[in-house]
């Protein structure tokens, strides 16, 4: 039994889907937001956005585009957790949020162990730039590079790796040179980061490109939650573009400012929204109230009760799903761990799409 509500009152799934279809197809520019869903849900949502001539965005776009904007402006070198674990003789963590973003990070990358696929079987060097206050790694020593300004520290480190002078104290320069020497001597190094700003991502990428002139280095950005990577991949093959894409003209157009869902809603450009969050009870914190259809788990709390709310299950828990798996850096099929009758985002979107007339 699917828990569906119209204006807060229990309704059949069919009635809720019909009301959702009415709200979305009547809008001039509906936006599909949240988009925390598996591959099937993202596929269905994008096809629905096309039919509605609406826009779509993901709730983690600010994190997504910190990495992706740099990639498509300056390029990238990256690798997988397995390569980092098996090959890397130098691991460099950046930021205090890594184990919060990915609790299995230490277990997966084993920074305190010997890389089994390196020529010399020695413990790897482990550096942590801007580490957390309390070390999350018990029994594994790392060289900490504390910093009050990450952008500056990365820039200075990059300069010292390339043997260029920096405007810093002798003590500071010596500290950086010690790290720079380790990076330059690495056989295969990997930089690991989580939520960084664009300038820091660009500087880290530049550092990697510089190091590859003489040795091997790569990156492992941890990416964002709510299947952000799976949704971006699905969006890529479906429209050619990542999220923040609109079908206002019938064909896909991508613009990270114009099609930012938050901006579309707050500015009044969007006049109805479909919010999808299958992985968490996240809800939008929009100040402006617009007609809202929500596909969310039970317990999600909204500032304004949605016009239509349909409960959905969690991918890989309530039903089998394809989603991006951080531990292998690939889209994988997850078998349901607690199979239930809860509906998938894809099936509810299909229900809504069926209720939309041909001229939506």
């Amino acid at each position: 039994m699917v828990d569906a509500r119209i204006d807060g009152k229990p309704a059949s799934l069919e009635a809720a889907a019909a009301r959702a279809a009415e709200i979305l197809s009547r809008a001039r520019l509906p936006v599909i937001a949240g988009l925390g869903t598996d591959v099937a849900g993202a596929s269905a949502a994008i096809l629905l956005a096309e039919r509605l001539r609406g826009a779509y965005d993901h709730m983690r776009s600010n994190e997504i585009f910190a990495d992706l904007d740099v990639l498509r402006q300056a390029g990238a070198m990256m690798t997988t957790p397995a390569v980092a674990r098996l090959h890397a003789d130098v691991l460099v963590f950046i930021g205090d949020d890594l184990t919060t973003i990915w609790p299995q990070l230490i277990e997966r990358l084993a920074p305190g162990e010997i890389p089994p696929l390196q020529l010399e079987l020695e413990l790897r060097q482990f550096i942590w730039i801007a580490p957390p206050k309390a070390s999350p790694v018990e029994g594994v020593a790392f060289k900490a590079l504390e910093t009050a300004n990450l952008q500056e520290t990365l820039a200075a480190l990059r300069a010292r790796v390339a043997g260029r002078p920096i405007a810093a104290s002798e003590e500071e320069t010596r500290r950086l040179d010690e790290i720079a020497a380790i990076l330059n001597k690495a056989h295969y190094g990997v930089l690991v980061w989580g939520r960084l700003d664009r300038l820091s991502v660009e500087m880290a990428t530049g550092l990697i490109l510089d190091l590859n002139k003489t040795t091997r280095f790569s990156s492992l950005p941890l990416g964002a939650a709510d299947d952000a990577a799976g949704v971006v991949q699905t969006s890529g093959w479906s429209t050619g573009f990542p999220v923040r894409t609109s079908f206002g003209r019938g064909y896909p157009e991508h613009d990270t400012w114009r099609f930012d869902a938050d901006r579309l809603v707050e500015s009044g450009e969007a006049d109805a929204a479909l919010w999808i969050s299958a992985y968490s009870d996240s809800t939008p914190n929009w100040k402006r109230k617009i007609p809202l259809v929500a596909l969310v788990p039970s317990g999600a709390q909204f500032a304004h009760e949605p016009e239509v709310r349909i409960e959905i299950g969690r991918p890989g828990v309530d039903y089998d799903a394809a989603e991006f798996a951080r531990e292998v850096n690939a889209i994988v099929a997850r078998e349901a761990t607690q199979r239930s009758n809860l509906a998938s985002a894809a099936s509810v979107i299909a229900n809504i799409a069926e209720q939309i007339g041909g001229d939506a």
Partner: protein, 542 residues
């Protein structure tokens, strides 16, 4: 439903047929002319060319590498028009890919480079390519497990079991090897890698890897031989590598991919010249090898390759100036955008090399038409390439526009051969069917699937091939004058060789130890793909 294509020129080299005649279709298959029955639909195709649907043997259309290229280059694929069918005009989308291929009369396309750990994504993408049938070749040859087997001198059977298990898990039609050992050597900071170089840590040569995989496929009786991307792609003087690799095949079947990129000499003031004539002579004299070309056509494109060593070395010439190099669990991939310019000496030599190979290799059963989409040019340029092969006038005109210093370094100006429709059909239909062991397509014989393309010659060869007059997929009329009327969903073709399943227990333990995950994590369960019955098996030899 009984359909009659009446009075066209039926060009079906697979069955040695080239004549004015009729073609009958019923229930998705080609049938013999029925006695005393009236067709439900008749298409008068007098004056038109009737061929089987074309088969593209090597085109990068899906997978994490292709998708990364899409995300890297949003500025290169802006859409311009609203579609009649879902996402049909979304540039470089899976949907548009199927629409354009079908519009040109292609009904089967092989994605030739799927990393085993990326197989699910590749099949998800392929499932969203409408109309055409698809297939994948999975990549081995830079993976720790195989290199370990070779280093330890394990048995032929163990290697064959591993290959078979990987083909089965990834639902692949065949096996690709890309710069054997080179991508792994790049992780150890190798910047060049040749046939007899050893992969550090493993002490195994590229030659040994190729031999091992070639033998495994023979032992497994997989119809398609090893599909090889040789070492030293794009390097001046690399014709020597190509010739040495052909010798390394030791008379056993081997398919060599995009050989244009290996047909370079070092003559002239730029130390870069065409050695295509030398390579073509070698291929003509070596009946156990087949080749595809990877023709360069001038214009903007992007190179997508799992040869990370080569792609890294090309990043300096990226245009626009940005690239992605991804060290994967085995091969990984490199994405380097590139613009081939008519006025550029090197690019003009490359253009000439490809055409020379097309015109100097005698046997159209052993040469395959590709641009290595999108590496030499996007697949949308195929019609222009057909025109160059079929018209020496067109070639002379093209040669008049390139730097004239190129002409002395290629035999192209002296070549007068012109392909006819029969040879085009051989190269794009009959020969690919044989290459992959298809008995049901690439031909118009009784019982074949009714994948049929009808072309209307109009004096402009490129235009003729760009917009097929009619295309039937499984007997269903999906294209009229290049326009798609509706979507249908094709299959992914795969082999299912017999092997000793004991290898799977060993792989299970290996994955737990090295990757910390279950081997099953990389499986591609059919029910997770968006279409029902997504696969179709191609039989291995008995």
């Amino acid at each position: 439903m009984l359909t009659l294509l009446k009075g066209g020129r039926v060009v079906d080299p697979y069955n040695d047929r080239d004549e004015i005649g009729d073609l009958w279709i019923e229930d998705g298959r080609i049938i013999a002319a029925p006695q005393g029955r009236q067709p439900d639909a008749t298409h008068d195709v007098a004056g038109k060319i009737v061929m089987a649907g074309a088969i593209d043997i090597h085109s990068h259309i899906a997978g994490g590498n292709v998708n990364t290229a899409r995300l890297l280059l949003p500025e290169l694929h802006r859409s311009r028009t609203a579609p009649m069918l879902p996402l049909a005009t979304a540039k470089w989308s899976t949907y548009e890919t199927g629409v354009i291929y079908a519009g040109m009369g292609f009904t089967t396309v092989v994605e030739p480079a799927v990393a085993p750990h990326q197989a699910l994504q590749a099949h998800l993408e392929l499932s969203n390519i409408p109309i055409i049938d698809k297939a994948t070749l999975c990549i081995l040859g830079n993976d720790d497990f195989l290199l370990g087997l070779l280093r330890e001198g394990e048995s032929r059977a163990a290697i064959a079991d591993y290959v078979a298990s990987t083909l089965a898990a990834t639902h692949s039609l065949g096996l690709k090897c890309i710069n054997a050992g080179g991508a792994e050597a790049f992780k150890f900071n190798a910047r060049t890698f040749s046939l007899d170089d050893e992969v550090p840590f493993y002490g195994v040569t590229s030659r040994r890897i190729v031999e091992g995989l070639q033998q495994a496929l023979l032992d497994l009786k997989v119809p398609h031989p090893l599909h090889l991307h040789c070492n030293n792609l794009g390097v001046p003087g690399n014709v020597e590598t190509a010739v040495a690799t052909i010798d390394a095949a030791r008379g056993m079947p081997l398919h060599l991919a995009h050989m244009q990129f290996y047909s370079y000499g070092q003559e002239g003031e730029h130390h870069f010249s065409s050695a295509a004539a030398t390579l073509a002579a070698k291929i003509n004299a070596t009946p156990n090898v087949t080749v595809d070309i990877g023709q360069v056509m001038f214009g903007q494109t992007v190179t997508i390759s799992a040869d990370t060593l080569r792609q890294f070395s090309a990043t300096g010439s990226a245009k626009p100036k940005k690239s992605v190099i991804n060290d994967g669990d085995a091969n990984g991939f490199g994405i380097v955008p590139y613009a081939y310019r008519e006025s550029d000496f090197i690019n003009a030599i490359q253009f000439a090399c490809g055409l020379e190979l097309f015109l100097l290799i005698d046997d159209p059963n052993r040469i395959f038409f590709t641009t290595d989409h999108p590496n030499g040019a996007p697949f949308t340029s195929y019609p222009d390439l057909f025109a160059l092969l079929m018209s020496r006038e067109r070639r002379a005109e093209a040669l008049s526009r390139i730097p004239q210093s190129v002409l002395a370094l290629t035999t192209l100006p002296s070549l007068t051969r012109e392909y006819g429709f029969h040879e085009i059909a051989k190269m794009t239909r009959a020969a690919p069917a044989k290459l992959f062991g298809f008995t049901d397509r690439g031909q118009l014989g009784e019982g074949a699937v009714a994948d049929v393309a009808v072309y209307a010659p109009n004096g402009d060869i490129a235009k003729t091939f760009r917009h097929a007059h009619l295309v039937f997929k499984d007997g269903d009329l999906v294209v009229r004058d290049g326009r798609i009327s509706h979507y249908r969903w094709g299959k992914a073709l795969k082999v299912n060789p017999a092997y000793d399943k004991a290898i799977n227990r060993r792989l299970g333990a290996y994955y737990e130890e090295h990757f910390g995950v279950s081997h099953n994590m990389f499986a591609v369960p059919a029910h997770i793909l968006p279409r029902k019955d997504p696969f179709k098996e191609v039989a291995c030899a008995k």
